[in-house]
Structures are given as structure tokens and as C-alpha cells.
């Protein structure tokens, strides 16, 4: 009996650890119109209110804002375009680092990335990515992916730039 409790507790810990690590840990927002730090302060105020955002780094020359997630949390990137718009500027692109369990369905691959969208479709696969994702999906493994976030046909997708195993 004690042994079964220990196994159940270990499995629960493993599940919780995986769930805690799945998600969007970093978002790089390309913002058009950023021309003065005083004006950009409003965007900072808005983005700091996006759930999951712990800190941000603003690159004025490059027009980029890097959002870093709180430990164990996922950034709700779906709220980022509205926050930037309320700040008086325009999002031209969002890139993200996402981790999660890989799933295969209907010839496509998904990353179970937790909140806010549940899962991200993985697109723009390079040679070798498909085999790696098939392997991960078959054994329930996790992937860490970076790419451009896009919304297509109502689903959020990650146009892959890099793909690796594990969180």
C-alpha cells in the first residue's frame, strides 16, 4: 500500500512538473511606431499587466520588446496585440519560445503548450523536423520550439525557427 502511494505521488509530481514547464516562456514582440522612450512607457504599463509577464526588455532601435515569463507560468500572448494597441502602437510580429508535449493529429503536429490557447500547431517544418516530432509524439515526449506566432483558421500556430527536445 505504501509503495502504491509513493508511485502515485511520484507520477503526480512528474505530471505537475511537466504541466508547470509547458507554456510560453518568452515572447519577442516587434512593435512599429516606437520612436521615443517616454511614449513607450505606456506600452510597458500595458504589457506588464498581461498575465504571465514577469519582466520586459525594450530595444528601441530594433523596435522589439522581449517579454519573459514568471517562473512556472505561461505568457498570455493573445493579449499582447491589444495591450500594444492600447499603448498607442502596432504589433508587426510576435515570436515565442514554447514548450510542451508533442501530439500528432491528422498529419499535423501540435505542441500542448497549456494556457492561453491550449495547443499550438507547428508549421514551417524543416527537413528532419517531421521525424523528430513523430518520435516525440509516439513516446509522449516534450519539445521546446521557437518561431513566429500566427493565427490561422481560428487556431494559433507556431511557424518554426528552431526545434529541440525537452523544456
Amino acid at each position: 500500500m505504501a509503495g502504491k502511494v509513493h508511485v502515485a505521488a511520484a507520477l503526480l509530481c512528474l505530471f505537475l512538473a511537466s504541466a508547470a514547464e509547458a507554456g510560453i516562456s518568452r515572447v519577442v514582440v516587434s512593435v512599429d511606431g516606437l520612436a521615443c522612450p517616454f511614449c513607450a512607457y505606456g506600452v510597458e504599463k500595458k504589457l506588464k499587466r498581461v498575465p504571465g509577464v514577469a519582466s520586459m526588455d525594450v530595444d528601441m532601435d530594433g523596435g522589439r520588446i522581449v517579454l519573459t515569463a514568471e517562473a512556472g507560468r505561461s505568457i498570455d500572448f493573445t493579449l499582447v496585440p491589444g495591450a500594444v494597441s492600447d499603448g498607442g502602437f502596432t504589433v508587426s510580429k510576435m515570436e515565442a519560445r514554447a514548450t510542451g508535449r508533442v501530439a500528432a493529429e491528422g498529419g499535423m503536429f501540435w505542441l500542448e503548450a497549456g494556457v492561453p490557447v491550449g495547443r499550438l500547431q507547428l508549421r514551417g517544418l524543416k527537413p528532419g523536423d517531421r521525424e523528430q516530432l513523430e518520435d516525440l509524439a509516439a513516446r509522449g515526449g516534450e519539445a521546446a520550439a521557437e518561431g513566429v506566432l500566427e493565427k490561422r483558421d481560428g487556431d494559433w500556430a507556431l511557424d518554426l525557427q528552431t526545434l529541440g527536445e525537452g523544456p
Binding site: C36, P37, F38, C39, K45, D59, M60
Partner: protein, 281 residues
């Protein structure tokens, strides 16, 4: 006498027509608003000195302004002036007054915006009203005694290095209780600015500007007749700056007259200045 009083009243008008949010020209207007739900507070000291015809006039006004972002493209501003000192001096006499001036309300709507990497182009309409809250029984008057209106159109390009602003304004004046109607005034402003050092988000940021400010005032009317010693045209060259750090801005400038063609006998402007601190909550 009336010409002198009219000259003093014209100083009051400076209060109504030189509002600004950073980044905007100090003596003109720009299309910049504040972020949605944002609150800005500003304390501004403005002054003017004028002389001519054996008289000297001066005024120093402290403004408190509250700015609110209704949306990212629509901002409202409440401006409350306090006249620290308004003076008229002749060889034989000096009269002064101080106290609350005329309160004004403004709304700015940014109806067009184009964002690109490191550049924002925008245009906005501005409408405002100045209420006769200042004491017009004081000598010199602290308020105009009239309700006046402001309509403006402004456009700008803000980039990582260069700034360009243009605005045109029309101040439409009402009639005071004595039947005096100040001449409506048309303004046109151009400004060019340059960022002094390379921009970094968490560092002080300095932009210096050169402004050209044109004012053309119609003659005042009293009892249906034009007042001879009123109205005229003025052109100013105005070096100005804005220095910001995070959500705090210090800004200021001086208006130096290049050209004045005033009707009749009126003191001419020697200089005007503005110095302000703005803080976004």
C-alpha cells in the same frame, strides 16, 4: 487705455494656446496622445515680456494640467492656470494683479496613424474651450471674461532621430460682459527636432527643436466697432527642448520675435518662455 488693456488681455491668450504633451512642440501642437487609461500631470511656468510706447508689460503664469487617455487615440486635458504676477508699468505707474486665471478643457483625437519600424506618422484634431473663470474685475485682468474656443489640426512624424511637426489653430473668441470681443486669432506652427544622443529605453533622452510660430490676430470689436490698437501679426523663432527619463519629462523653450506688425499703438513682445515638468502615472 483700451489698447493697453487689450494688450494685457493678449497675454492671457498665451495661456490658452500653448498646451502640449511631450513629445510635442513647446509653443505649437502635436498629435501625440497618452496611452489608454493613462493619466498625466503637468506643472508649467510660462512668462511673457512686452514693451513699447512708454509701457512695459509682463506676466508669469503657473499652469496645472491633468491629461487622461480615454483611448489610445483620444485624450482629454484640463488646464488650470494661476497668474503669479501680471504687471503693467509706465513711467509714472505700476499696476499688478495675481490669482486664478481662465480654466480650459481640450480634447485631442488622433484620427490617423501610420506605424513603421522606428517611425510614427500621425494627425489629430483638437477642440477646446476656455471658460471665463478668472477674475476680470482685477486690474490687470486675470481672465478675459469671455468663453473662447479652439479648433486645431496637427500632424507630425516622430522617428528615432528626427522630429517634424506642423499645426494650424484657430482661436474663436467670445464677448466679455463689457461687450468687448477679442479678435479671433489664427496660428500656424512648424517645428523640426533632432535627438541629441542615441536612444536607449532606460536612459535619459534629449530632443532639441527649432520652432517657427506665426500668429495673426484680427482687430478686437467693441460695440460693433473695431478697436484701433488691437490685432496684428507676429512671427517667432523658438528654440526648445524635451528631456525625458522613463515617465518623467522636462521641457521648455523661448519664443524670440522675428517679425511683429501690430495695429496702432501696442507693446511688442520682447520674449516668451515656457518651462514644464510632466509625469505619467
Amino acid at each position: 487705455m483700451r489698447g493697453l488693456l487689450v494688450g494685457l488681455i493678449s497675454l492671457v491668450m498665451v495661456v490658452f494656446v500653448a498646451p502640449c504633451l511631450a513629445h510635442e512642440p513647446i509653443f505649437g501642437l502635436g498629435p501625440h496622445t497618452i496611452y489608454k487609461g493613462g493619466v498625466g500631470v503637468e506643472a508649467k511656468l510660462e512668462g511673457e515680456s512686452a514693451s513699447g510706447g512708454g509701457e512695459e508689460e509682463s506676466e508669469y503664469v503657473l499652469h496645472a494640467e491633468l491629461i487622461y487617455g480615454i483611448t489610445a487615440d483620444l485624450a482629454a486635458t484640463l488646464a488650470v492656470p494661476y497668474v503669479l504676477d501680471r504687471a503693467r508699468e509706465t513711467d509714472s505707474d505700476r499696476i499688478t494683479s495675481d490669482g486664478p486665471g481662465d480654466v480650459s478643457l481640450r480634447a485631442k483625437y488622433r484620427f490617423w496613424r501610420r506605424d513603421a519600424l522606428g517611425v510614427q506618422d500621425a494627425a489629430a484634431f483638437i477642440a477646446g474651450i476656455k471658460l471665463p473663470s478668472g477674475d476680470d474685475e482685477e486690474t490687470p485682468k486675470l481672465g478675459t471674461g469671455s468663453t473662447d474656443y479652439l479648433l486645431a489640426l496637427t500632424a507630425a512624424r516622430e522617428s528615432l532621430i528626427w522630429y517634424y511637426f506642423f499645426d494650424t489653430r484657430n482661436r474663436i473668441n467670445g464677448e466679455d460682459p463689457d461687450g468687448l470681443k477679442k479678435g479671433n486669432t489664427f496660428f500656424a506652427d512648424l517645428a523640426v527636432g533632432i535627438r541629441v544622443w542615441e536612444i536607449e529605453y532606460l536612459a535619459p533622452d534629449l530632443v532639441v527643436l527649432a520652432e517657427l510660430n506665426w500668429e495673426s490676430a484680427a482687430r478686437d470689436e467693441s460695440g460693433g466697432a473695431d478697436v484701433a490698437d488691437s490685432g496684428g501679426d507676429m512671427l517667432f523663432l523658438s528654440p526648445s527642448f524635451f528631456l525625458t527619463y522613463r515617465n518623467l519629462a522636462a521641457k521648455g523653450g523661448v519664443q524670440l520675435p522675428l517679425y511683429q506688425d501690430l495695429n496702432g499703438e501696442q507693446p511688442e513682445v520682447d520674449y516668451r518662455f515656457s518651462l514644464a515638468l510632466e509625469f505619467h502615472l
